[in-house]
Amino acid sequence: MTGQIIVNVLLATGQLLPIALGFALIHRTSRCLHFAHGAVCVIAPYLALTFSAVAGFPLCLAVVAGIAAAAVAGAGIEFFCYRPMRRRGSSSLSMALVSLGLLVAIQNTISLAYGDGAQRLRPWAGGPGMEIWGGRITGLQVAAVCCGFGCVIVLAALERATRWGKAIRAVAINPNLARVCGIESSRVVLSAFLIGSGLAGVSGVWIALDVDMMPTIGLGALMMSIVAAVAGGHRTLFGPAVSLVALMAILQAAGLLIGAEWQEAVAFAILIGVLLLRHTWGAEAGLRLALP
């Protein structure tokens, strides 16, 4: 029993880590509540299905093409929607409204094109899997966990060791000062959208490969990303990653104690609690650093 709980926590965390990291990366650089991230996440598996089933691509290549398409879609949203608004001096609230509109429009476009029903991306049937610590996990799920945690390590390394990473941190902490220092913040934000949306696509593909996909799967993943990003803070990428692990553990415990159907309510009750407690404890200064 305990082994299966650990396996479930690891699997859910591994699947959601890329989208949560992507959301945090976009939020800390652009200060935009990018709700459309949930819809961008769904673009990857559906296009992968098209590339694989219609164009005849091998599944691996179709998945890579789908993720690339999600990355381009996210960058396109930044380039055509958010950037003109930012130049005009629009508030983050205005951009949040645009992202809500985009979420509805993209999700329903996918529904229109592929239908609301469940679709299967993987052509093979799921096996019983292997036993680890008394819990069962399939090879595909192990790959999803490794990929999720691998994304954290790679992104953290990129952020620490590369010029791009330093530029990301500079824009996140103080965009005006970053601009004065010669960093072109608009390009940095665009790159954050490109990589963040690609990461969302990775999550979308893993979820779709594990269970059947529907146009609404992105919304649930986005919700957990928001909880992880807000609870974990935005100063480092490890914050959202650690808070996602904790959140998944709490949700598994809640599922056992009060039923799996209440997991979403518990996650968002935690989010409300975290936001209110941060204000009560005066941690607003820390949040301001993350979201100047």
Binding site: C81, S91, T109, F268, L275, L291
Partner: protein, 295 residues
Amino acid sequence: MEYLVHLGIVLCIYMVLSTSLNLVAGYSGLLSVAHAAFYGVGAYVVALMAIHWHSPFWLAIVAATAVTGLLGGVVGGSTLRLRGDYFVITTFALQVVVFSVLNNWVALTGGPMGLPGIPPPVVFGWTVSSQWGLLLLTGLCCLLTLFICRRIVQSPLGRVLKAIREDEVLAQANGKNVAAHKTLVFVLGASMASTAGAMYAYYVTFIDPTSFTVMESILIISIVIVGGAGSLWGPVVGAVVLVTLPELLRFIGLPSAVAANTRQILYGGALVAFMMWRPQGLLGKYAFEKKSADT
């Protein structure tokens, strides 16, 4: 004719919803993504009272406004210091929690199966079971909501709300109790949304949680944005545009599933287009363009 009456009832319900959200978001600058939650709570309170206790119309309406007003007061009071993005995230979270409760508390709400068989309202001994009667009732409810909103925005309270929207610190420096005013407007907005929920429950006679999702909240926001936030008539015009124009899709022979998705795409697209090119909407005076202190 029956179809036009149906359209009129739906239009009145959305006018009440958008006018009440306009009071919170347009006049006070508090962008709530939880309006469908208040709408849903109102609908469920009325449905439960009507089904289990055969409550008269007025008692059910009073109970619904009291319960949602209390919920709005708790939410408004506890989130007073949250601004901008954090307020949006908190109301988004509240919307998800309320939907989850409506969907999973099967013993009380019927869960995904919903609550069927809501009896027609009885107003002063008159059982309103015809469509025309319900149109009259929702129309009166809509007019009453508009009248109350007009009185509020033209009163000193309305001026304080606008002052808080424009500069909260300055309003506080001028001796205005920002916390009390924000809580009050949230209570009022939530209570008005609950009356729309009550009308919806009485009209459709069956409610389930899918009518009160975050997508419904986004639709109400779209109506306010398209019509124009911070203007009394903006949400009315927005409701007319966004409720009636997508109805044209019915007449071009699209299958219902395709028409439903197309309608949602139009709502989302309208929200994006207006926020990008005309953020003040068709008649509005406020464009959510002010950068808050936290963002």
